[in-house]
Symmetry: D3
Subunit: 248 residues, 6 copies
């Protein structure tokens, strides 16, 4: 029988279903239309939203907008230095996969008709990586997106924000047979299963991706991972609301 | 209340929980160590396994092997022509994401110690794309992998096949509120939710990825999608067994 | 004195002036405007024709059309695996040379004024390579081109096919001092001279390229190679006619 | 006659020969061997030093070390978004020029024999750009370099730090005929002449680059620019000393 | 009936079977092991031979050498400026085709065993292009190759030159129904057929490539083109001999 | 005390403040609008000016022109062969830095309003490199630019040349403690300080870049280097005038 969450040892003594300490700094950078520095434990991701006129070719004259994301990692975000993708001349598979996930998630909460023919680019740059960078990026980018859309409303460009609701994301995994919420790098490296969940404020699921790194998992384990993830995301949604309420 | 599966209209009159007709042709190409043409309806994927001596740098002298995958699509696999990635000079994000999924899935069933310092490359090339190319690629590549490993055993290079068990994959989705198994392109393009499931012969889950393309999904819907996927994958696993039993 | 053709040993016991068995499957893929799978012995090339509106920049507003070709090889078309050009990020010299040859040859039989401002792209993808892939590609692509143009006529887009006449191509070479028609890979690798010939249905020559891989060749040998090539091409032109007559 | 420095209007009311407020945060990121966030007004550059074993090929077995730099800018460091160099697949000319300047400057203060066959990479990433990013990068990177070398000494890997002395850098320019120290973006965009100066703690010059963006400059103006730059660099060298004295 | 050669008008009043004025300047550049500037009319190609130790991977430990060529064109070698291939980030199809032709031709006259494990690179850079650049490159590169090999003999590195014999190349074509030798750009642009011939000093053929740009050609025309080409190449071989005899 | 210039030994016995022999050949290539071959000792740079209609995007409809430069080096311009940037698929940092310097310098002497929406591209290709290639390129490119602009005036396209004045450039350095003008490669490789100076005909400075390769330099040394550079540039400006006066 696995120990109860309170009996487990995690590197930072957290309970199995506890998030890491999360700090969100809105307006970290002054240039972008929306900017947020999100810190989850030692993971630190800078999320900047840019509003550009126009849309990609296939949407031109459709009256609809577009939301996309780019993800990057500074060379020393990691324990040993990682070569720059600009130096290697191509964007790697992991980066592509993550930025597709971020963009797809955020598109699900934007009313593209209401946005009109504008593109919002969400740049998520990892200053320090200690596990969960893609889910921190989604949670942070959603705030940067909200801030940028609020600015368009404040400027009178849009009548109302095309953001239908907020969303947030977290990771969950199985380590030594135990389900754990919000894995840090040390836990992630040892995990048998790694799962990312993106959920709407109304509880609807947008993405669930569960990957067995070793062995496999049962439907019962999948269900418990979803329970933990929902708990964590509810807390992140509350943190987002606090920030947005306090930001003019 | 949604109609029962038998009341639904699908482009090819299938029941909601029915796979498309699947043909598997082993040895389609004579050069590779393992070769399979897998056809699911109009989707046609050529899966070839190559055995090479040696492993990537980070595994050298570890005594362990490696399994990796590459995925490609011929320009006219699609309704309108798609430019070659070789001409554009880079591999796109979708391709990266798919080949990472295929490689990761197949690594989960291979005993890398037993394989020794060899690399198996699974080339999955889509000759015609009508939905579900990545799951067809996984199902086909697992057979090509099995054939290639059997050849190493037959040649006396390995004492026993390092393949621990077979796995197969299928797609499932929600179209107009109904859960449907094994979407064709026309259904996929209209789906609200798109899910890929990779499952072991022993029933363990290796990958579950459910993405809301429009709106979101509930945990109950996720559960029904998993039910349908498990049914389809059991049938694919049976088809694989038939082929492997018949191939010397 | 070299032995007469009937005394020679070829890997498949062919006469020196005999083609390999050639199969042509029209409509192998259903998406393209014209599709042909051509098999010459173990060489297997999928030729697909795509019709696109518009022409490259330098022909815009000229009233003239354009025909171009792209050539690719699946990684395991060859005995040992060849890395994908998309992975290496660039198209190699051999590929460039071949697709220029295919495009140039096919342009010579199309009335560009009658085609109008349309581009026809011929994708020639080698599924299995056993010598003579470029000439098989030309012979197959000409049928795919004819089928695509016939479809434009059938649809009423064009009044008559802009294809002035058919053409076909074969390889011929000198192995151990003997002129041989339609070299397979094993012969090609040993050949002193390797020649490709593209000829029109009316007997006019479009391309003759004879390369000494070892030593050199005389004008008399060049003449004999042309004799053999003409014989082979006549047979290929007949096979093309049979297919086209049978295809609505 | 130009107004005296105290009469000039600068966007932030600085005197003509005054630096912007400069903050230096050592250890901003925990992973690298040396890490510094340097802020000069709104310019914010993260400088991280990485120590790697080994040297580039041309130095192998020479017993000598190497110091190099890479410079990057986050897409929204600038007023309007700049595309990522990784997306464009190549590093631009400005980036190359800057990283060559940073690397060359820092190599001038390191005793490569004493460093031994190690490479130190200085990653300078601009989080926010408001003029003077390359000189802020040099000033910050020199501290990150000092910290990383001190760590090698503390660990007993090196007996003494191979850093011969500190250096710092600043920009100076001519705007509307007036020499101004440490230009912000608004001033830089209007400058007639733009100059970067890198100077050692002992007053020796390492780099002086003066470029006329409009018109040209006299030797007398060049001399006044050097006077201002020297004053500013003395202040930066003092700030560096304060930080290094306080860091164990 | 076509006019006799002497009745034809060519832009420079040459007879149909006359070469353009050809100047060969050995030692044009002092750095390379062999250097030749070859001028054929306004076509000007700088051919430099470099000797490097070692061979490509597939020849290592074979005791055999390698000869390869690279071909480039300065941006203003042409009437309107052509973008640099280095700026576009890839080598074009035409360039690939030409450098493969040059390398293959020159390999046919070198005894690779006698050369030993050395690589000779022939850089052929077109300073001005007025037709026939690839054949001028071959003719010039063969001299640069001979000079470089003679230098190895003079230095005592090789006992005898591994160059078995010289070769030279020229173009020939059909313009308005007339066979013409050594086309300049103006003629080449109007030609119905364009042919390149590479021939050994002993009269053996190494490459014959005849391409119909419009219509097609008969075997009789092919034969006349070969006659003209042979005449021209004999003259080029004589010019090469004069240069080599005069160069120590 | 350092020896007086006349006592110094330089590889070619020049005085410390003497330029190398400089030859300027206008019209070296006939295709470009302006063409110059400039030789400084063994350094040989071909400078070609191309006039194109239109300007880059950010200047469109501004009524202003643009001047830019590209710099290249043939593989055997150097003692040992340098790989082509087209083969490596990217333009290196040094090339970028040099072409930015050339373009920026020449833009400083052109009245962009008077030029109108035209782009002038200056291609500077080094045939042989023996030090000072970037300054030779600037000196030569300015003549090619003047010739091209004169041609626009002669053709009636422009009323007067938009070239405000000529400029020229040279290098100067410190070798063994002595200031030397116009370093050849052998001197440059040993120099402690390397400086490039670009100066206008009216004596105004456009670029001064002084880099310490070893140690550092004093302001007094900087001043002496500028004295020598001014002397050399005056001689180059005189040579330019001679050429331009003699060219119709």
């Amino acid at each position: 029988m696995p120990p109860t969450p309170s009996q487990l040892f995690r590197p930072d003594n957290r309970a199995a279903d506890a998030l890491r300490l999360t700090h969100i700094t809105p307006g970290y950078i002054v240039m972008p239309e929306g900017s947020v520095l999100i810190e989850s434990g030692n993971t630190r991701v800078l999320c900047n939203a840019t509003v550009e006129q126009g849309v990609p070719g296939w949407l031109r004259n459709s009256g609809r907008g577009w939301v996309t994301a780019e993800y990057g990692m500074l060379p020393r975000a990691t324990l040993t230095r990682t070569a720059r993708e600009s130096e290697r001349g191509k964007v790697g598979g992991r980066t592509h996969e993550i930025q597709r996930l971020i963009g797809r998630s955020l598109r699900s909460v934007v009313d593209m008709k209401a946005l009109g023919e504008r593109t919002i680019i969400l740049d998520c740059d990892v200053l320090q990586a200690d596990g969960g960078t893609r889910t921190a990026a989604i949670t942070g980018a959603c705030i940067a997106l909200a801030l940028a859309l609020n600015k368009l409303v404040a400027a009178g460009t849009l009548k109302a924000s095309p953001l239908r609701q907020m969303l947030a994301a977290t990771s969950v995994g199985i380590v030594d047979g135990h389900v754990l919420l919000d894995l840090c790098y040390e836990e992630d490296a040892r995990a048998e299963v790694d799962m990312n969940v993106v959920m709407l404020a109304d509880g609807g699921l947008v993405e669930t991706q569960a990957t067995a790194e070793k062995n496999s998992y049962t439907r019962q384990q999948l269900s418990q991972m979803l329970d933990y993830a929902e708990k964590g995301i509810q807390e992140l949604l509350a943190a987002q609301r606090t920030i947005l309420d306090a930001t003019p």
